[in-house]
């Protein structure tokens, strides 16, 4: 499976370096290494979800209890979480750091991913969620730090899109 091990490690290390101690996740192909890294790290609590929206509640609870968290999900998981994001995190001004795999963009071979890919950025924009694309490994740590800083200063969700260029090593 050509998911980038090195770039998954970069992302994980950056999250940990920024104090993230709870990661919620629902598996998807591009996230496999990240989820294993979280599972294997005794300092990180990995919460395996049945549905991504639960992760909003878990991150809200963790934040109120003083623990930094991050959410790992596919863009379809983001789409499945919207009510929780709006009427949980946004209504109550709780920061969320959402790492969203950007499936269904250029280069996508799986037909079932394509509709979600086409609407992800528009939906983020409609929800007024600040968003950055992670493409260049050299900038990943910096971008994750900047995203987390804004999430906590604004008390609002932010999104980092994990792109094909970063996550997939197949030409």
């Amino acid at each position: 499976m050509p998911v980038s091990t090195a770039n998954s490690q970069l992302i994980f290390d950056a999250l940990k370096a920024n104090g993230v101690r709870v990661m919620s996740a629902l598996p998807e192909t591009w996230l496999v290494h990240l989820i294993h890294l979280a599972d294997d790290d005794p300092e990180v609590t990995l919460v395996r979800l049945a549905k991504e929206e639960e992760g909003v509640g878990i991150s809200m609870g963790a934040h109120l209890a003083g623990v930094k968290s991050a959410m790992l999900m596919q863009n379809h998981g983001f789409l499945a979480s919207i009510n929780g994001i709006v009427s949980g995190a946004q209504l109550y001004r709780v920061p969320l750091v959402m790492l969203i795999s950007d499936r269904g963009s250029f280069g996508e071979r799986d037909p079932w991913q394509t509709e979600g890919g086409a609407v992800t950025e528009s939906v983020l924009s409609a929800l007024r969620i600040p968003m950055m694309r992670l493409e260049n490994p050299a900038r990943v740590a910096y971008q994750i730090r900047q995203a987390q800083t804004l999430a906590y200063s604004s008390n609002r969700p932010v999104a980092l899109l994990l792109t094909r260029d970063l996550m997939w090593e197949e030409s």
Partner: protein, 187 residues
């Protein structure tokens, strides 16, 4: 049993616990008995009260957490029961007030009135302790036993489908949220 009487009966037992409620009648009734800084009312995001409770319980393992959930909310996030069961935080007591209806939005019946038994659903999801109470005495006994047990418990309380006249209170959502966060900082 009414939910208000059930809440009154365990109110004194909430001291020292982080309490998370669902929206609508549960939040309004608990506030009518008396708001405290350790109470957080999730006034929307139906289904996620148990997830918020799980997030707190995992982050503060020494703080007892009580979630006051409802049948409509649990049915919206049945998968959440399997997530609770998977992590089994021993400091989490998950109470479900089951009035077999969506009382706050017109009283339409939920599936718990005809076929779905939530205590059994929770047990089958893997929640290690479950109970169902139909009287105040049973409820108080089971609530106290669950607090004593230090093991994840889902306690279903069958209550009448009656609630307060109004749901909006004078406690601002954000005021409540920041006050609750400050409370947790002291724990």
């Amino acid at each position: 049993m009414t939910r208000l009487d059930a809440l009154r009966a365990v109110y004194d037992r909430l001291e020292g616990s982080a309490v998370v409620t669902i929206m609508g009648a549960v939040a309004a009734e608990l506030q009518s008995i008396g708001h405290r800084p350790n109470f957080f009312y999730l006034q929307h995001a139906m289904g996620l009260a148990s997830s918020v409770g799980l997030g707190i319980a995992l982050s503060k393992p020494d703080v007892p957490v009580v979630v006051f959930d409802g049948d409509g909310s649990v049915l919206m996030n049945l998968g959440g029961l399997s997530t609770l069961a998977r992590y089994k935080p021993p400091n989490l007591l998950h109470v479900v007030f089951d009035n077999e209806s969506l009382l706050s939005v017109g009283g339409f019946p939920t599936a718990t009135g005809t076929c779905t038994r939530l205590a059994e659903v929770a047990a089958a999801a893997g929640v290690p302790r479950t109970a169902c109470a139909t009287t105040i005495d049973e409820f108080v006994k089971e609530f106290a036993a669950a607090q004593q047990a230090r093991e994840l418990t889902t306690l279903v309380a069958k209550v009448q489908a009656v609630g307060p006249a109004a749901f909006v209170t004078d406690l601002g959502l954000l005021e409540n949220r920041f006050q609750f966060q400050r409370y947790l900082q002291t724990r």
